[in-house]
Each structure stands twice: as C-alpha cells, then as structure tokens.
C-alpha cells in the first residue's frame, strides 16, 4: 500500500521522535537531580526525619568515623565530631545517632552545652548487619547538619563467645579525667561502666526472652549544672563507653551519673582543678 511516502511525512516523524527523546531526557534528568539534592539517607528514616522536622540539613561539617568493615558487630567503635562553621555565639547542642537497619534505629542522643567545649564523642555501638549509620547535629540556634556512613559487618563465629560470669550491672564506674584543665581548653574525658545492655530481643539457653535492661541516661554535672548528657538505647554495646569533652569554667566538683531502666543508678565524683 505505502509504496512511496511524501517527504514532509518523514520530517514530521523525525520531529516527533526528537521531541519524545528530549522529553524523556528532561524527565530522567529531573528524576536524577531531585533526589541527589534532597534525598540523604536521613530522609528515608522516620526517626531521623522527626529530628530534622522540615529543615534541610547541611552535609558539611559533621564527621562520622567508623570502620568500613567490622568483624564484630557487637562492638563497633564510633566517633562523631563537628568541625564546621557556626556563629560565634552558637554551639552544637544535640547530636543524634541512628542505625538504619537495627531492630530499633535509635543509637543515642547526646545533649551538649558550652561547658562541653568541643562537639566530639566516641562510643561503641551494636550493628546487626551491613547498614548505614546516620548522625544529625543540631545547633543551639537551630542549624542542622547530617552525615551518613556505610559499615559492612561480617560474620566471625570464632571470635565471639560468652566469657564466664557477667559483672554486676552498674558496678565499677571508671572515669579518666585530666589532672587539670586550662580555661578555654576542652579536654577529653573517658567513662566506662559495667552493664549488660540487654536488648530485650535475645533468647537465653532455655529459649526465653531475656528482659530488656539497659543504661538509659548518663549525665555529667559541673558544680551542679549539667554539662553533658546522653540518652542511650539498645544499640549501645555492653558496658557503655563514652569519650566526650569538658571545658569547665571554674574549679569544683564533677558528678557522673548512670541511670538504668530499673531505676537503679551509679555515680562517680571527681574534682576539677585548674592548671
């Protein structure tokens, strides 16, 4: 039937094809561009979105340090720190940590004050599979920063075992504090306490669920005013370890307190000396 087609017919078809190609390109470009700008992994996690609210976090300044690969998901060393720009009268007042694929994503929330001096915290966390870890920092004036890091967790049956008797929960609080502080010079403080941090998800040898039993709150007070506070969740490793900074303004007393979910607590006191 169509032995010969008029020339304008071909031209029209070519225009149509070109139009479709351009439209497809535009749509796919738009599709690529929008999530790349807006979709950090924090946007896909309900718990993280509730911290962020409607604000768009800056991805510069917050640094999360974790090993790329870990053979022991029960205890993965984590350091989160802020080295970005803030207004002179502003400071980081809160840092939230999330593990995207853990049974409950919240790891911990840290509350910092000007007495903390430097926004850098180290701890050890549980990661039950390969996943992204998210950190969100909020400044006192409401600026938000976010970062994420992928950690690969491998199995390693021969390196893990339950060694002997568990120490008494909340026993033996240990605090390493500098012998003296220079005003305006934040110094690292390390703390550790014995605690099983039972997740409430584990079964004992008889197949019964071991009830949840964790340290929920850790507080540091300098001469009565709170300098640093941490809300801890199940994803913090057994015997919680915390490294943070203090920058006391004057000499006096520091009180460290751990509270667990049974209402029990342990305290440790140390004196602050100026150097």
């Amino acid at each position: 039937m169509h032995v010969a087609r008029p020339a304008h017919y071909d031209a029209a078809r070519r225009r149509l094809l070109r139009g479709i190609a351009a439209a497809v390109a535009a749509i796919s470009l738009a599709g690529l561009a929008t999530p790349a700008l807006a979709e950090g992994p924090w946007q896909r996690l309900e718990a993280a979105r509730s911290v962020l609210g409607d604000t768009e976090p800056s991805t510069q300044g917050l640094v999360l340090d974790l090993p790329h690969v870990s053979e022991d998901g029960a205890s993965v060393a984590l350091t989160v720190g802020f080295d970005g720009e803030l207004a002179d009268d502003d400071h980081i007042s809160r840092i939230d940590l999330f593990a995207t694929a853990n049974p409950s994503p919240e790891i911990a929330t840290f509350h910092l004050t000007p007495l903390s001096g430097k926004a850098e915290i180290s701890t050890r966390v549980r990661l039950n599979e390969t996943q992204q870890v998210i950190a969100i920092a909020t400044s006192h004036q409401g600026e938000r920063f976010a970062t994420a890091r992928e950690v690969r967790i491998t199995v390693s049956g021969c390196l893990m075992r339950n060694g002997g008797d568990q120490p008494e929960p909340l026993s033996n609080p240990r605090v390493s504090i500098p012998s003296s502080f220079t005003p305006g010079q934040p110094e690292a403080v390390r703390t550790l306490i014995n605690h099983p941090m039972e997740t409430g998800l584990r079964e004992d040898t008889n197949g019964e669920i071991v009830p949840r039993h964790i340290v929920e709150r850790f507080t540091v007070r300098l001469n009565g005013s709170t300098a640093f506070e941490a809300e801890l969740h199940q994803s913090i490793s057994a015997s919680p370890y915390l490294l943070f900074y203090l920058s006391p303004e004057e000499e006096g007393e520091a009180v460290f307190e751990w509270q667990d979910d049974t209402g029990a607590s342990a305290t440790h006191e140390a004196s602050i000396k100026a150097g």
């Binding site: 090993p67 790329h68 690969v69 053979e71 060393a77 491998t154 199995v155 390693s156 049956g157 021969c158 390196l159 075992r161 060694g163 002997g164 240990r174 390493s176 390390r190 703390t191 550790l192 370890y241 490294l243």
Partner: protein, 341 residues
C-alpha cells in the same frame, strides 16, 4: 604514645625478630617433620619442640605473675567444635606439606626473595577470609554449630585437676628434656637458638597485648603470634587501610617480611626464585588454600595453635596439633604424598 600505638610497635619488633631468626635458622615445623620422617634427622623438629617448651614456660610464668590472664585468649574455648579443630588442623598440615612450609615460613621466604611464597600467601589469605567471613563462612559456622562439644573445662590443668604451674612445669620440662636429649641438636646452635628465640616471642606477644595494650576503656584483644587470619587481614589492610585500624596481627606480618628481608640481605642470601612449572604452582596454590581454610577452622596454624595455643595449655591446641601432625604425615610420607613436581 597511646597504648594501641605501643601494641603496634611492639608487634612490629616481634615480627622483625621472628623474620630475622626464621631466615637465619630455617626454623620450620614442616622441615622438622620431613627431615625426621624421611632422613631420620630430628634437629629441626627438636628446635620446634624447644620453642614449644620455652613458649609454654614463659607464658605460664606471665600468668602466674598475674600479668596476663590467658583464659581471655581465643584458644580457651569451653565449647569448641570436636570436628572443625582436628579436621582444620589436618587440612592445614596437608596444605603445609603441599606448599613446602607453613604461612609464617612463607612470609620468611618471601622476604628472602622467594616469589613462590607470594602465590602461597595470596591463596592462603584469600582462603582464610573466605572461611572466616566470606563465601565459605556460612558452611563453616553451620559445621561448627552441628559439632559443638560443651566441655566442663577449657584447658589441660582443668582436665587433669592439677594446678596450671605444675602442668606447665611437667609438660615444659618433658619437652625441654626431649629436645636436648640429642647430641646432634646440642651441637647445632642454629637450631636451638632459633627455637629459643622464637619460643620467647610468644610470651612477648602476650605481654604486648595483655600488659602494654591494657586499657580499661579501649581494651586490646589478648593475642600472640599467629599467622592465618593476620595474613588475610594484611591483604585486607592493604586494600582498606583508610577505613580500618592497624592491629597486632597485621603489624607482626609486616615485621616478619621486613625482618627476613634485612637478614637475607645481611647474609647475602637474597635470591629471586620462581616456579619451575605449572605443576609446582598448582601445588603451592592448593597448599595455600588448604592452609587458609584449615587454619581458620582449627583457630590457628602451626605457630598459632602449636606455640601460642599450646602456651595457654588450652585443650583446643592439643586437638589442632594432633590434626596438623596427621595432615603433615599424610602429605610427607603418604598415602597422599605428591611428588615434588
């Protein structure tokens, strides 16, 4: 210097001494067994037995002095697999015979210019991580789970009901007596010096991780000389160092290669050597692979279980050593012995 840096530097030092000593003395369990079974020359084997005695007595002295608690090491396992440990030992022993030396020996030879060892080490490290955390790990964990044996005790003193120091004295004394009961061995300072120095490195390793690495807040895992997982970890470290932390095992591995290289250059013994043919290469590859898989199943190699494991008097060490001996015998004497090419 932080405690982790202190551990890394002492590990490098331990590795350097191991590499230099191994290069100069030819310290090697396989050579010892092969010379003993094929030629009736027991000097090299006695050197290894002397190292066992020194490692045992030295480590137990540290434990009695309260400096380290050896039950924190991975060898002291109260629920080991009754199958994986001896079977892994046998695979390791046979692989060691195929590859003409264990993993530690391959590191020393690599430092002396033997490129065949590079192939052995690459296969060994790859196979070790395949079994530890890679494609073979689910199979290994399933096998271990099926054959777990709950023991009332994890070490020899617990099993025979004698104090650890007494067991160590009797066993260490017996090993020492046997090692020195031979005039040819006593007249060969190369062999007894090698055994003595390498034996001493085992308590040195416990001291480095247990005393220098002691920190309430960031504990370093108690470990001493062992080579299978660390060789795999070294390959991983080369590829992922920006995202991982340098530990004791990898530092020892690096030290051994450098120490052996330095000693080989000093003794004008550095020669590049390669394979004579594909048959030899295949042997090395198979040997390295079997050592990697077997070493992970047995929780250690001829050094890891044979010296470090034994020095804790852990029951798993005796099971692994029996397996290594049996596997090596199969490969050296037969019936599974393969010709050199």
């Amino acid at each position: 210097m932080s405690h982790t840096e202190l551990v890394v530097w002492s590990a490098v030092l331990i590795g350097l001494v191991f590499g230099a000593t191994g290069q100069a003395t030819g310290f090697c369990l396989l050579r010892g067994l092969a010379n003993c079974w094929a030629l009736g020359d027991t000097r090299k084997l006695r050197g290894f037995v002397l190292a066992m005695a020194v490692a045992l007595l030295g480590s137990q002295t540290l434990a009695v002095a309260g400096l380290v608690s050896l039950e924190d090491s991975l060898y002291a396992n109260p629920a080991p697999s009754w199958l994986a440990i001896p079977l892994g030992g046998a695979l390791f022993g046979y692989g060691m015979a195929l590859a003409n030396g264990c993993g530690a020996r391959a590191l020393v030879l690599l430092g002396s210019g033997n490129l065949r060892s590079f192939v052995v080490l690459t296969c060994l490290g790859l196979a070790a991580y395949m079994a530890l955390s890679g494609v073979l790990a689910p199979l290994r964990i399933w096998l271990e789970g099926m054959t777990t044996l709950a023991l009332p005790t994890h070490d020899l003193p617990g099993a025979i009901g004698a104090p650890a120091w007494f067991t160590a004295l009797v066993l260490g004394g017996a090993l020492l007596a046997w090692a020195f009961s031979n005039a040819a061995f006593r007249a060969s300072p190369r062999d007894w010096l090698g055994g003595l120095i390498i034996g001493l490195l085992v308590p040195a390793g416990w001291y480095a991780t247990g005393v220098l690495g002691h920190d309430d807040f960031e504990p370093v895992r108690l470990a001493s000389l062992t080579f299978i997982a660390p060789i795999g970890e070294s390959l991983q470290y080369l590829m992922l160092s920006t995202g991982t932390r340098l530990g004791f095992g990898v530092s020892v591995v690096g030290g051994v290669i450098v120490g052996a290289l330095a000693m080989a250059l000093l003794r004008r013994d550095f020669t590049l050597r390669a394979f004579d043919g594909p048959g030899q290469m295949l042997r090395s590859m198979a040997g390295g692979t079997l050592m990697g898989i077997g070493g992970v199943m047995a929780l250690g190699c001829s050094i890891g279980q044979g010296l470090s494991g034994l020095s804790t008097l852990a029951l798993t060490a005796f099971a692994a050593l029996a397996g290594i001996g049996a596997g090596a015998r199969l490969g050296i004497v037969g019936p599974l012995a393969l010709s050199k090419n």
